[in-house]
């Protein structure tokens, strides 16, 4: 197994993606939150929100750097590890790949400007406006690259006649059946995850309340309210889009949904299986043990009505079935999504109804673990998406085993890149922690207060420090 280029290529691609997606998700979501904070700050003339935007941006540029270099890595690795796939992809789906580089180019240019022009314009709204292309570029990058992944799930816009590709329609390939649900799901869940990561930071500080000054507490409470409110909105949107994604799968890739749900026999009124373990019987069939079974739920997920017929895994040949482990990835993704909806709703309700203290220790703890959980959910979601598509790399067209490189050197490269990601991950974390510890909120707020009379240039500390 460990000298099989196919297995090794899958491992290396998976490793790069698993690492990259952390930074890519942050990259898609943070600009939006920064812009929201800067907007409120300018509108209400509240320097706390501006400071929030500046601090988020400072952390963001460090993660962006790792995102850029790992994005470059995966971009090139696609050709290095999957040359046959890219030969076909070049003919059919090159358009959004090309567009993605433009979107990223656009984002990089404006991010460069945004970072270094905080106090350069007389009208601060000009600076805010420069942030808009950053948000557009970040979201557009995510959209374009996800259309490519959608294409792998739903290859359309071409015909194969006698082994050659003809009648190519690049736009149809890009806007394939999977694109609407998939792209929205990826974008909204990135916003959700980032909102929760930033909320977790605020909650973390508030949990150590004893050491906080009144100004700091006020600052972190503002951050928490903004991020949890955003989290709630995006959690609902993600749930809605997730539901559409389920319906897409039931219709167009039924074996992928069936594998996730351990749904073996085609039935209507299908129950949703949560958790559990599989016990293989002597005849090769499986018995599900210890699972929570929710009546009708799978039929509702698949078609919106309890009597919807859901196609089972047994309709498909063994060699066309995805590994059954994806069930757990699916469950992790969905349950974390539900948790995030619940905890953000609880916080907002407590805040609005004023019956319960939203800054209660337990709610804060709940929000805090939401941050890491959201990222785990992203990872689980992608594992489900990618492993669930197996054995195909292009669904129904090209098998993963036929797409990989024949090179014998993938093993050493896997070790090389593992070491690289370990190094980057460690140092990135250390640098971020040190950066924010050295320049605490308290210190910056104090500098703000001291300079309050001299608004403008001296109002904020130098970002370069």
């Amino acid at each position: 197994m460990f000298n099989d280029p196919v297995v090794l290529s899958r491992l290396l691609t998976g490793l790069t993606l698993a690492f990259h997606i952390i930074f890519a998700t942050i990259g898609v979501g943070v600009p939006l939150m920064v812009l929201a904070a800067e907007f409120i700050g300018l509108k209400r003339k509240d320097p706390d929100y501006i400071l929030l935007a500046r601090r988020w941006t400072r952390g963001y540029v460090v993660t962006v750097a790792v995102g850029v270099v790992t994005g470059t890595a995966i971009g090139l690795q696609l050709s290095l590890l999957w040359p046959s796939l890219m030969q076909v992809a070049g003919q059919t789906i090159a358009l959004p790949l090309f567009m993605e580089t433009f979107a990223f180019f656009f984002e990089a240019i404006f991010l460069g400007i945004y970072l270094y022009t905080w106090d350069r314009f007389k009208n601060p709204w000009l600076h805010w406006l420069i942030g808009i292309p950053v948000v557009i570029g970040a979201t557009a990058s995510a959209f374009f690259i996800t259309t490519v992944n959608s294409f792998m799930n739903s290859p359309e816009g071409f015909k194969i006649v006698n082994g050659t590709l003809t009648q190519i329609e690049p736009l149809k390939a890009m806007f394939n059946t999977a694109t609407p649900t998939k792209a929205t799901h990826v974008i909204v869940s990135a916003y959700l995850t980032v909102a929760f990561i930033l909320a977790a930071i605020a909650a973390f500080h508030l949990l150590r309340k004893k050491t906080l000054s009144a100004a700091e507490t006020a600052y972190h409470k503002k951050a928490l309210r903004l991020t949890v409110m955003a989290g709630l909105i995006f959690a609902f949107s993600t749930a809605l889009v997730g539901d559409f994604s389920g319906k897409y799968l039931a219709k167009y890739q039924p074996e992928k949904l069936a594998a996730a749900e351990w749904h073996f026999d085609t039935t209507s009124e299908a129950e949703l299986i949560f958790g559990g373990i599989l016990d293989q019987q002597e005849d090769g069939s499986y018995e599900i043990k210890g699972a929570v079974k929710i009546p009708y739920a799978l039929s509702i997920l698949a078609g919106g009505a309890p009597n919807t017929e859901v196609i089972g895994l047994n309709e498909f040949a063994k060699e066309d079935q995805a590994p059954l482990i994806v069930h757990y990835f699916f469950d992790i993704m969905v349950s974390i999504g539900m948790y995030l909806t619940a905890i953000s709703a609880l916080f907002i309700l407590a805040f609005r109804l004023k019956k319960l203290n939203p800054y209660n220790k337990w709610i804060l703890r709940g929000v805090f673990i939401g941050g890491p959980l959201a990222m785990i959910s992203i990872e689980a979601g992608w594992m489900y998406a990618e492993i669930g598509r197996q054995p195909w790399t292009l669904y129904g067209i090209m098998r993963t085993a036929d797409a990989a490189t024949t090179s014998t050197a993938v093993g050493p490269m896997l070790i090389l890149f593992s070491a690289l990601y370990l190094l980057l991950g460690t140092i990135c974390t250390v640098v971020l922690l040190r950066m924010f510890k050295k320049n605490t909120v308290g210190k910056e707020l104090q500098e703000l207060a001291e300079n309050h009379h001299a608004r403008g240039e001296a109002m904020f500390v130098d970002d370069n420090k």
Binding site: V64, Q87, G112
Partner: protein
Amino acid sequence: MDVQTLGITVLWTFLYGYLIVASIDFGAGFYAFYSKYTKRDHLTNRLILRYLSPVWEVTNVFFVFFFVGLVGFFPDSAYYFGTALLVPASIVLVLIAIRGSFYAFANYGSNDSMFYTFLYGATGLLIPAAMSTTLTISQGGFIRKTNDTVEFLGTKLFSNFYSWTVVALAIVSVLYISAMFLLFYADKAKDEGATPLIRKWALFWSGPTILVCALVFFGLKNQAAWHYENILNGNWWWFAASFLFFLIAVTLVYMKKNYGIAFVAVMLQYAVAWFGYGYTHLPYILYPYIDINKAVVNETMASALVVVFIFGLLLLIPALYLILRLFLFDNDYVRGKSSK
């Protein structure tokens, strides 16, 4: 112009853009380390950072743009280069990753350590060295197609003298282009401490640059006779013009005049040599396997890519103009006067 010529021209132009901006970036990394090592960083490094900080990610995109575009316009190149270059390309990726992230760690994360600067400087020379071998590989002789796979003859490349002269050319060019740019930038900033020092670097590297250029040019005869013949067949003037621009640039710097025009001359020196080299390399991307006329993507995709490219440029040119205006042509910023 047919679509394959248009495609390869676009890609080659982007690679030229990368050659210039990345050389500035790579060389600046080396100089930043060198100044720090010789304890003269107080003279130069603020200047270097002021230019680099806002633009480094833009530099990287030129490269991504090139290889994504290459796969789009000529999908066969993914197959040949992808299979053959797994190891060298992975090493370049690791170096780029280290360079980019450590730059951010040092600069934004305020970890100003000698070790980070060393990594930043060393990768600045190793990356162009490794990348330049692709030029040699593309001329043929180092990739062999067998029945079901493509094989890279790494040891052959490693023990090839010509390939090392190309590596040397890449390294000295990086140092030369970068010094020429920084000289212009320092002069514009009226930085009287840095200007004479950087001028010395620029003059120092001009000699080796032209020497290695000549070595590569004449080495081509034995390495890739087909390419050499194409050049002699009425295309030698590109390289003569390049030499002329080199003389203009060095003379201006020597006379301490017009560093801006001198840098333009450097850009032209490399532009004509680059396009002359590319033009005489055609129709091959990889000799003899990838011929642009046979390997070009289907017509629909090619026209779609061209349309996107045009729209993309309409979007990018104003944006690039804006970033240049703010950070390169804004005298207050260049001099470090304006608040950031």
